[in-house]
Amino acid sequence: MKNKFRILITLIATFILAAFILSGCSAKSANSKDGYSEIKDKGFIVVGLDDTFAPMGFRDEKGEVVGFDVDLAKEVFKRNNLEVKFQPIDWSMKETELNTGNIDAIWNGYTITDERKEKVAFTNPYLENRQVIITLANSSIKSKKDLKDKIVAAQNESSSVDAMNKEPEVVSSLKNGEIIVLDTNNEAFMDLEAGRIDAVVADEILARYYISQRGVEKYAVLEDDFGKEEYGIGIRKTDKELLAAIEKALDEMRKDGTAAEISKKWFGDNIIR
C-alpha cells in the first residue's frame, strides 16, 4: 500500500515537472526571428478568426468566410501580393494559436487591451467601439447604477468582460458579485429574451448587428457604457515587417477610400478611423 502511494506521488511530481518544462519552452519559442520573409516565400498568410462572429467574420449560406474584417484583410494582403487563408479557431485559444505559429494574425474584431499587448503586437486601431449595456425595451434599468443586484452576461474571454472588470465596484454590486459568461453573444441575447438575465454587455458594433437581426423594438441600449475601446490586428511580436506592411496598406486604403467603401458595405456608414 505504502509502495503504491509512493508511485502515485512520483507520478504527480513528474506531471508538475513536465508542466514547468512546457511553460519554459513556450517562453522561448516566442523569441524566434521575424517570420515575414517566410510568409512571403509561402505566398499566403493565415488569418485566424472565430467564424461565428458576425458581422466581422462569419460564414454565409454557401459556407464562404465573409464579413467586414474579412474584406478588409483580403484587400490589405492583396496590396502585399499575398493570398489570405482564413482559419477558424476557438476564440479562447487565439493567442496560443498565434504564438504556436498555427496562424499569422488575429483579425476579427480584436480589441486592444493591456493584457493582450503583453502577448501580441497590435497595429494602430482601425475601428472604435463602445462596450454598451443592452436590456429589453421594457426594462427598469436605465443607467449603470440600476445594475445593482441584477444579472448581467457577456461573452466568455471577450473584452466586454475585461471592460467590466475595470469597474470592480459595479461588478461586485451585481447579483452574487459576478458576471455570467456565455459562449457566444447570440446566447447572451437569447438568455436576455428568455428573461433569465437582466442585461448584456457587448461590443456596440456586434450588439447593433444582433439587434437589427432580432428586432430593434425589442431592445434598449443604455447611454451609460463600460468605456470606449479600439479594434486592432494582432500579430506575433517578432513579425515587425509584417506589422509595417499591414499598417502601410491600411493607410493607403484610408486615403484612397477603399476602407470607407468596405465600411459602408457592412455598416451602412464609414466608421473606419
Binding site: 467564424d51 461565428t52 462569419f58 460564414r59 454565409d60 459556407g63 477558424p88 494559436e97 504556436t100
Partner: protein, 213 residues
C-alpha cells in the same frame, strides 16, 4: 421551410467532417482497443502497469483537455500535428482506453473451460484467442460497444477547440449569423438520424451474433 433549405449546404459539409472523424476514430480504436485489453491482462508486470497507467490518464482527464494538450501542448516539445491529425490522435487514444476496458471485461467473462478445451484440441494460444475467445467475447460486449460508439458520434463536436468545423459548429455559425435557434434544432435532428442509423446497425450485429441461442 425555405430557410432550412438555405442551411443545408453548410450543414452537410459539417456532417461530412463529423462522419470522417467518427469513422477514422472507430476504425483505428477498435482494433487497438483489443491490444490495450491484452496488455491490461498481460502477466508481465511492466506491460500490465503501463496499460493501467495509460487507461488511468485517458479516462481520468477530459477529452477536451487531451485535445488541447495534443494540439497546443506538444508543439512546445517539437511535436507538431495538423488539426485533423491531432484531433484523430486524441480521439483514438481516448477511445482506445474505453474500448480496451470493454474488451477486457468480455475476455475475462469467458469460462476457463474454453481455454482447456481448446488446448485439448491442440489449438495454439493465438488461435485459441482469435477463434474461440474473441468471437464469444465480442458477442457479450456488443451492447457496451454500441453505447460507446453512440457517445463517440456526439463527442466529435469537441473538435471545435482545434478549429475544425463540424456539424454542431455549422449550426452555431448559422445561429449566430441569423440570430435564431432554428439551425441548432436542425443539428439536433441530424444527430438523431445518425444515432438511429447506428442503433439499427448494432441491432443487426447483435442478431447476427446471436447464434447458439
Amino acid at each position: 421551410m425555405n430557410y432550412v433549405g438555405t442551411l443545408m449546404y453548410s450543414m452537410l459539409v459539417g456532417l461530412a467532417t463529423t462522419i470522417e472523424i467518427f469513422l477514422l476514430t472507430l476504425v483505428l480504436s477498435i482494433p487497438l482497443g483489443i491490444v490495450v485489453a491484452l496488455a491490461r491482462l498481460s502477466k508481465i508486470q511492466f506491460i500490465n502497469l503501463t496499460a493501467q497507467f495509460y487507461i488511468w490518464i485517458m479516462r481520468g482527464t477530459p477529452l477536451l483537455l487531451q485535445l488541447i494538450f495534443i494540439f497546443f501542448g506538444l508543439p512546445l516539445i517539437g511535436l507538431t500535428f495538423d488539426r485533423l491529425t491531432a484531433a484523430i490522435l486524441a480521439f483514438v487514444l481516448n477511445y482506445c482506453a474505453y474500448f480496451g476496458e470493454i474488451f477486457r471485461s468480455g475476455i475475462q467473462s469467458i469460462d476457463n473451460a474454453q481455454y482447456e478445451a481448446a488446448e485439448v484440441l491442440g489449438l495454439t494460444p493465438v488461435k485459441t484467442f482469435l477463434r474461440i475467445i474473441l468471437p464469444q467475447a465480442i458477442k457479450r460486449i456488443l451492447p457496451a460497444i454500441s453505447n460507446e460508439v453512440i457517445t463517440l458520434i456526439k463527442d466529435t463536436s469537441l473538435v471545435y477547440v482545434v478549429g475544425i468545423g463540424e456539424l454542431l459548429r455549422a449550426g452555431k455559425i448559422a445561429s449566430n449569423r441569423d440570430a435564431t435557434l432554428l439551425p441548432l434544432f436542425v443539428v439536433g435532428l441530424f444527430y438523431l438520424i445518425l444515432t438511429a442509423v447506428l442503433t439499427k446497425t448494432f441491432k443487426g450485429f447483435e442478431e447476427k451474433f446471436s447464434y447458439y441461442r
